[in-house]
Amino acid sequence: MIYQKITNNLKDLFDRSHDSHGMLVLELSPEKVLPLVTRLKEEFGFDLFLDVTAVDYPEREPRFDVVYHFYSSNQNKRIRLKVQVPETEPVVPTLTGLYGSARYLERETHEMYGIRFNGNDDLRPILLYEGFVGHPLRKDYPIDMEQPIVEYRKQVESGI
């Protein structure tokens, strides 16, 4: 019901929609994120910002999918938004103006994938540390790469 309404009322704000195991998925371009989310929040009660993450497709152009999940507390429904952004300019607008929880979650996506959230002025590392080079969840970051913040102790050659 509510899904039908969303696809009808907001049809000029997204490009494609489909169903994923009972959840509505909307695909859209970065510049439409803010108007769409604002309307979802205000008209359809999607007041809980659950999650943001990204998926990396190195072979594809544009390379990244930024994936949002929202929850509507009065409809008990979830919705997923997918935004494609290119490697050269991985920028989406921030949602910190609409949801406080976006602050932390965007920081994580920023450090893990290098997605920039335009307007979020606090994109310090959160799970990683200051000075970490690269974005570990990108597919081209090797899983066994090490960059310790404190040098490993050298093997002592003589004595115990």
């Binding site: 994923s20 195991h21 959840m23 007041d47 809980l48 910002f49 659950l50 999650d51 993450t53 998926v55 990396d56 994936v67 999940h69 929850y71 507390s73 008990n76 979830r78 997923r80 949801y99 406080g100 929880s101 602050r103 932390y104 979650l105 994580e108 893990m112 606090d122 310090r124 590392p125 959160i126 799970l127 990683l128 540390y129 200051e130 000075g131 570990p136 969840l137 970051y141 899983i143 913040i149 404190v150 040098e151």
Partner: protein, 403 residues
Amino acid sequence: MEYKSPVRSYLEETADPNNVLVNLGPSHPATHGTIQIIAELDGETVKKADIHCGYLHRGFEKEAEHHTYHKIIPYTDRLNYCSSLNNNFAYAEAVEKLLGIEITPRCKWLRTLLSEYNRVADHVTCIAATVMEMGAMTAFLYLMTIRDYIFEHLNHLTGARLTYSYVRIGGLSRDLPEGWLERLEEILQFHERYINRIHGLLDRNRIFIDRTRNVGVMTPEHALNWGYTGPILRSTGIPIDLRKDSPYLAYPELDFEVPVGIKGDNYDRYYVRMREMDESLSMIRQCVKNLPKGPVSVVDSRVVLPEKSRVYTQTEAVINHFKLIIDGIKVPAGEVYSAHEAPNGELGFYLVSDGSGHPYKMHVRSPSFAHMGGMHTLLEGYQVADIIATFGSMNMIGGECDR
């Protein structure tokens, strides 16, 4: 050796020269969890707080991309290690949704029973740690006694006290051992007796109320805005519970209530957890009563390992076993988001498969991480000592928060 700080606090200088900056953690005896809080204090009052997590980051999501679906199960144990079974089941359900597998009725009811049982253990741990940090040693020991009985009992079932790895895609690793349900009832009665003592010790305790009532207060709008879920959201009065709202497993067939708080302060969070345990106990008893007979795993050789007796005697079973271990389960391409009501809140698994034996992308929506994002709002304006009480009632679990 040159020392480099792993964090850059936005509080480098105090706004007022009379204020001081205090660093709590990341390893602090009064916080249960490795987390760093940098606070600006005016006397005893917290003016600003900057919270840094990540000290327990293990790269779970990166590891998951390099493991087969079965080999991820032990990693999910280590998310919220106080209630590993809830993580196990949430993960398994996400994969099963992608595979399109319907689990057997017995498995469904057993998973429900064990989810609730582990929820009790988690809540008990949370309350125990919180009150211990506030100085209530007796309550701590009573609660830890219950927790240890539960852990020993789950050890009997799964072979481990904390990291159970009990789930399998499409079922469970084994059925209940003999006498397990009888012992379960004994422990539940023991739990009720001890929880009554906890009510007696804490509910109207002057010291406890002073430390918790009207401390760390939040409104429902505030909680939703900052992404709070689970008991913390319910303590503000919003009855959102995935077990009721988007039912999974056997929850639609169970009769239970969703306890909510009034004010959203520390005391409400304590009380909501206490009430939830009562509901969990009632649900466990309903599960025991309704537990159907039958197999615990589906019959599907694409997913479930063949029986050991067959592996040792039949060629096909050996090949089947080999393929499942080496190549892993072939999960059809697609994506799914599946969420369970974990003891801390909404635990979601976002899984993208490309049709191969390991996930293309795995993301965990962990409740603790979202909760930490809004923590500073609950600390600012209160006293330094309240940090400990408020932080305890959040039940931040490092493994789940930092992944």
